[in-house]
């Protein structure tokens, strides 16, 4: 799964059977730092609740279809969750005053 930002939506009336009621989104893939990385693509919305500008995570390949109510549909990317928060701060900041004081105290 990778991070992505919802940048738009797509409406298709005629679509493959099994995809009725499924929402299509245009998503911009992001790198680990949540900066845009690569070309935007179309993903289905398995949460049914993702909206514009939301940070989401997307599953690719065959497993994307398994996220939908009707499995084995022709889908290769699905939004499977909406991100509340990512905690990837370093465990300590070697440049910080607090860390230097701690190391000196040792």
């Amino acid at each position: 799964m990778k991070f992505a930002r919802v940048i738009g939506n797509l409406v298709a009336t005629q679509k493959y059977r099994g995809l009725e009621g499924v929402k299509f989104l245009i998503v911009q893939p992001l790198n680990a730092q949540r900066q845009p990385d690569g070309e935007a693509y179309v993903a289905v919305d398995a949460t049914n609740q993702a909206g514009q500008d939301e940070l989401v995570f997307v599953i690719a390949s065959k497993e994307a279809a398994f996220a939908l109510p009707v499995e084995f549909v022709p889908v290769d990317a699905a939004v499977v969750g909406i991100v509340d928060d990512v905690d990837d701060r370093p465990l300590y900041d070697a440049e910080s005053v607090a860390w230097k004081v701690f190391m000196e105290a040792r």
Binding site: M1, K2, F3, N31, A32, A46, T47, Q49, F57, I59, A60, S61, K62, E63, A64, F66, A67, E71, A78, V80, G81, I82, V83, D84, D85, V86, D87, D88, R89, L91
Partner: protein, 91 residues
């Protein structure tokens, strides 16, 4: 499978029901010299890994579902299946 380092945790309220009660971790793929590459994955965790751990990540759907004891279908691909103690490379 590949070697990675756990770099963060992802919190999500609205998600597919398969992920309920599961830990979601961001893992950056490592090169063989131990440096971090640009590739990453959001993974489920089966071995109680934490931030900073060097781990083995399985990135294949069928095996991942077997690890999580979800036979059949389910939107899961990347799972952490081991915490690395030591790596020895032939020179």
């Amino acid at each position: 499978m590949y070697i990675g380092r756990v770099t963060g945790t992802v919190t999500s309220t609205i998600k597919h029901k398969l992920y309920n009660g599961q830990k979601l971790l961001t893992v950056t793929r490592l090169n063989l010299d131990g440096s971090e590459s640009d590739l990453y994955d959001i993974c489920l965790d089966d071995v109680q890994a934490g931030i900073g751990d060097v781990v083995v990540v399985l990135d294949e759907g069928g095996s991942a579902r077997q690890v999580l004891r979800k036979r059949g279908t389910g939107p899961v691909r990347a799972v952490i299946i081991g915490i690395v103690d030591q790596i020895t490379l032939q020179p």
